[in-house]
């Protein structure tokens, strides 16, 4: 029961963080695109955003399927 509650908490937390990331991207999109198109060292802007979203949203999607009961069968090989 405790672990189920923790799983729900983590999923909701990561979901909120992911939604916040997307909201911020939407809200500041003009400034972000302005930086992106300058190129050069500004390449760090889209690359960093991609990494951040992959960690936050990737964590959320993993927990999401887990919570729905869609889990891997077994470890295949080590």
């Amino acid at each position: 029961m405790e672990s189920k509650r923790n799983a729900v908490f983590m999923t909701v937390l990561l979901g909120v963080m992911s939604a916040t990331c997307y909201y911020l991207l939407y809200h500041f999109n003009e400034q972000i695109l302005e930086w992106s198109k300058q190129g050069g060292w500004y390449f760090m802007v889209p690359v960093s955003i991609a990494f951040l979203f992959s960690i936050v949203h990737g964590g959320f999607t993993g927990h999401f399927w887990d919570l729905l009961g869609v889990k891997a069968k077994t470890t295949k090989k080590s």
Binding site: G40, Y42, K71, K73, K76, S78
Partner: protein, 357 residues
Amino acid sequence: MEISFINLELSNVLFLFFVGFVGGLVSGFIGSGGAFVLTPAMMSMGVPAIMAVASNMCHKFPKALIGSMKRAKYGQVDVKLGIVLGISAEAGVLYGATIQTQIKETFGDVGSNLYVSMVFVVVLAVVGGYVLRDAIKIYKSGSTDGTAKTTKLALWVQSVNIPGTMMYFPSIGAKVSVLFTIPIGFLTGMLAATIAVGGFIGVPAMMYVLGVPALMASATELVIAFIMGMGGTIKYAIAGYVDIRLAMVILAGSLFGIQLGAIGTTYVKDYTVKIVMGVIMMLVLVSRGLMVPVYLSKMGYLEEWWGMGTLSENTIQFLDKTSYVMLIFALGVGAVIILYALISGYMKHNKEQAAAN
């Protein structure tokens, strides 16, 4: 080129999210896929070709990162092989891009499209046909674990000993000379630069030339895709071509898909990866094959070589649309097979668990 970004409409966002999900599902399962639909889809929304390619790359590397981490948990990833192949693939991407530019300068846009389509048709017919035939053979053989015998070529590659170049790879369970892995990575990269789906050669090459099991080959391909995607993204981002909004919308859907595709691999036998890959490759082959007469006609070759005249505008439009629909169909069929395999494997597993209890 003046860099300008398109206005994002809700319908476009939803479409990219959905295609991202389906593409992610396929990628999580066979190691690649989605790009061949996403790039033309973005172009049809008015995104310039180079920005569509750049934005696609920018969603690909974080997706591949998450997918490879997930499949590494299942013990399916050979990180060492992925890194070795990934580095040579990066060199292949750069060389492939140079060739592409030269062809474009010499023969123009239509000539470049004809070249890409011809590469698609030849590679998919030979490699895709072989993968599908192999999958059917294993299925008919009734092999209980669904794995294929190591090919004669792979056995030979594993037997060659070139001192100073040998490296042990866990997925192969043997030492292999990097003189074999370098050309494989290079060709994967070259193909990725040309048709955007390097996995169509990388995965079969790992399976048939190196002797890597299909499930491990498709998982290791995600490491290669991460390295190639990351390198490609940096290259395009330095030039300012990445539309991060498009990339992150696609990523939103594809991360749901890639998790599901990766989970699916734990419920299937080895040959299912080959079936999905072979079927997608055959359908993409038909799609690209439909466009060959269009480009031949535009370049005047239909008349010059066969005296057939040129194709009418209506015929060109029909072939163009049919080809695009066929690409979406290819991705859709792949996703349906994966979902079917996942659901039936999941139900069978649950029944076995219930019986055991």
